[in-house]
């Protein structure tokens, strides 16, 4: 079958030279007209390959068809039946690796911009006045640990079925990684706030400043509830263990981003201090590294360099994030590995790296980088941000021995996402190690279903 060619609509963006100096959103999103036009590119394939690429199985062709007809709120209902945070997913999902990768148009004239249209619908739904949803109360109670993507999704699914849900959050603000990790210019915090407000309308209670395992124990939660879901994420930053890592000016991406995103240290007059590096080195090449690098630029750095031990092909960040970073002027030192951090009077002033070359593929199929002898070089830097990934927080496990964990501290769950403790479920990064927002949401949704089955709620 011949397809009439019609190129994919690009999502308008703030100009790179302007946006690199502000924290406003980079991608500006489709307007109504373009959203309809883009949705009309969907060929409505019978077997819907796009849906196979979606970790939460959004009924993509169906919602796109409604958008094409201009029935935005019906489109929204379709998305929301499997994805409770469309305005978030439309922005931060790696669509090019998921739904859009499977789109039949991908090799012809570009995949349908499913993420772009989803974002438009998500924002549209948030702009609607809330309806008073009548939910029949089941009398069942569930505690959700953590208000990040998996916890919010799990809470939404349960609340919609009349379960009384209390979400416990360690921070003073809800949203987990969506608020402390992902920067404002990629995900405006008002959207996360609006999604949380919708959950409150459904009766979900949020208890802030509550560190489960410290402020309240899992045992207590089990006494007070019919089930518990742990979505505590993977918040522990990894360091390299090299010389000079504890110098002032060397910090984890988590610390840097939390100070800026959660504590709003980028605003003048913020009570939370933040260091403003002029010459910033970011170690690592994942999405968090790109976030940290682009944030440093917006905080007034003259030069920001991403240091990565493998090559361009191996960079784990989304292609779009790398492109955005390059457009904004971030420099890349690939095939380079830090060996020590240098400083004076307790403060970092340079980073020494060694050049690497790619050797044979390892068990995972990635080529192992090997140091090139005598190729050390020194890069000046007044700030070094370490973005090498995170591991699950041992805090919950330490306070509750019965929870079984794997080698890297991840919680072990069965197929229904139940942990080694009866009635305690878990999902998201706490189980998988650092992964994506959408995978965490998928787990939250799946665990909610298991809990509903267990409680006999239809």
């Amino acid at each position: 079958m011949a397809i009439e060619r019609k190129r994919r609509n690009a999502i308008p963006e703030q100009d790179a030279t302007i946006r690199s100096k502000n924290f406003d959103e980079v991608a500006l999103g489709f307007d109504e007209k373009v959203a309809i036009d883009e949705a009309s590119r969907c060929l409505n394939c019978k077997n819907a390959p796009c849906m196979k690429g979606c970790p939460v199985g959004v009924r993509i062709p169906e919602f796109l068809a409604k958008v094409r007809e201009g029935k935005f709120s019906e489109a929204g209902e379709i998305i929301k039946s499997t994805n409770s945070l469309p305005s978030v997913c439309g922005r931060v999902c790696p669509q090019e690796e998921q739904c859009e990768k499977m789109c039949v148009r991908v090799k012809i004239d570009g995949a349908v911009s499913i993420g772009g249209v989803e974002r438009f619908i998500g924002d549209y739904m948030l702009s609607l006045p809330s309806e008073n949803k009548e939910v029949i109360k089941t009398g069942k109670k569930v505690a959700v640990v953590g208000s990040g993507p998996s916890g919010l999704t799990c809470a939404a699914q349960l609340a919609q079925k009349g379960v009384e849900v209390t979400v416990y959050e360690a921070f003073h603000k809800t949203g987990g990684v969506l608020v402390y990790g992902i920067p404002e210019f990629r995900l405006p915090k008002r959207l996360v706030g609006a999604e949380v407000d919708k959950l409150k309308e459904w009766g979900v209670k949020f208890e802030l400043n509550t560190v489960v395992g410290k402020t309240i124990t899992i045992d207590e939660l089990l006494e007070q509830n019919d089930a518990v879901f742990i979505g505590s994420g993977a918040g522990l930053p990894m360091f390299m263990g090299i010389e000079g890592e504890n110098l002032n000016g060397v910090l984890s991406a988590n610390e840097y981003l939390t100070r800026i995103n959660l504590m709003r240290a980028y605003e003048s007059g913020s009570a939370t201090p933040v260091q403003r590096g002029k010459n910033v080195a970011v170690i690592g090449a994942g999405n968090v590294a790109m976030d940290a690098a682009r944030t440093a630029l917006r905080m007034g750095a003259d030069e920001v360099t991403v240091i990565y031990r493998r090559g361009r092909e191996e960079m784990p960040a989304r292609a779009e994030e790398i492109k955005h970073a390059e457009q904004e002027g971030i420099k890349f030192r690939l095939l380079s590995n830090p060996v020590r951090i240098l400083g004076e009077n307790g403060k970092v002033n340079a980073i020494e790296c060694v050049k690497m070359q790619l050797g044979e593929p390892d068990a995972s199929g990635r080529r192992t980088p090997v140091a090139v002898e005598n190729s050390e070089f020194i890069l000046p830097a007044d700030m070094v941000i370490v973005a090498l990934g995170t591991s699950p927080n041992p805090l919950i496990k330490d306070s509750f021995d019965a929870l079984e964990t794997g080698k890297k501290g991840t919680l072990i769950v069965d197929e229904s996402l139940m942990t080694s403790v009866d009635g305690v479920y878990a999902g998201g990064d706490a189980v998988t190690g650092a992964a994506t927002v959408i995978l965490a949401m998928g787990a939250g949704r799946k665990a909610a279903q298991s809990i509903l089955d267990r409680l006999g709620v239809k």
Partner: protein, 275 residues
């Protein structure tokens, strides 16, 4: 929101706050800390718990005005609310395996060792308490320590109360008498470092309570990391208490000043003063 149910001045620029926080009060043990934010725009600041009452549902902290946020807190009075209060964080300290313990407090650190003194008295192993301060005015919790300590020794820099000199002078005398099998020191880093240098000579186990810069207090930011025994440790989840003989004091003291420049600006905006 947590209410300040009681506030009293203990010394110039030092206030004791009794704060309503039922869950924290019912879960905490000696050695743990809390993080608070004074208002909605506030920064997160850690304080070691000085006392707690599960019955009253209150937690007591001692706060010295040293910068913007602590000065902001000082403006609050009894009945007022603070925005956030989270805890108990960190690991509890258990010294019950030792029998002849000295608790050494310097400045505001005196109050921080109080729950330990109270606990050791309760389990029938009352500890000696050695308190030091610049002058008499800055010695605090004396009545409380009178009740809980085995022997109470005082030292002031100017000799206005107790021995004229440092806590280390008193401690040295007692170590010469082989009085202790464990020392716990809490106070400014310089004082803790000096205590550790002394006890190392005597080979006496020494525990210190570290209070570095931190954001979340749950292991997420890594801002509080210390070098202990050559390894990086997080004060918030691995501590706050560590073997004082293992701590890399130079790095720890340097890291304490990581935000000194920025902090100066903040103090100025609140008080108009230049430092």
């Amino acid at each position: 929101m947590n209410q300040i149910v009681k506030k009293r001045a203990l010394a110039p620029k030092v206030n004791e706050y009794v704060i309503s926080a039922l869950r924290v009060a019912t879960h905490c043990r000696p050695g743990q800390f809390i993080i608070l934010r004074v208002d909605e725009e506030g920064e997160r600041i850690p304080f070691t718990i000085c006392d707690y009452s599960a019955d009253e549902g209150t937690v007591t902290i001692l706060v010295q005005e040293v910068g913007y946020s602590t000065a902001l807190l000082a403006q609050k009075g009894e009945g007022d609310y603070i925005a956030d209060f989270v805890g108990p964080l960190g690991k509890a300290t258990d010294l019950s395996e030792y029998n002849r313990i000295a608790l050494v407090g310097g400045g505001i650190g005196s109050a921080v060792i109080y729950p330990q003194a109270k606990f050791l008295r309760a389990i029938g192993k009352p500890a000696d308490v050695i308190l030091g301060a610049r002058n008499e005015q800055l010695l605090m919790y004396l009545d409380e320590f009178d009740r809980s300590a085995n022997n109470l020794y005082l030292a002031t820099d100017d000799g206005s109360r107790g021995v004229k000199g440092f806590v280390t002078d008193v401690l040295k005398k007692r170590l010469d008498e082989n009085a202790y099998d464990c020392v716990m020191a809490v106070g400014p880093m310089g004082m803790m470092r000096a205590v550790c240098a002394l006890t190392k000579e005597y080979g006496v186990k020494t525990v210190v309570s570290m209070n570095p810069i931190m954001v979340d207090g749950t292991g997420m930011c890594g801002g509080c990391r210390l070098t202990v025994g050559g390894k990086t440790k997080y004060a918030c989840v691995d501590g706050p208490e560590f073997d004082g003989h293992e701590i890399d004091w130079e790095t720890a003291m340097s890291r304490l000043g990581a935000y000194r420049e920025q902090e100066k600006e903040h103090a100025c905006r609140l008080t108009g003063e230049r430092r």
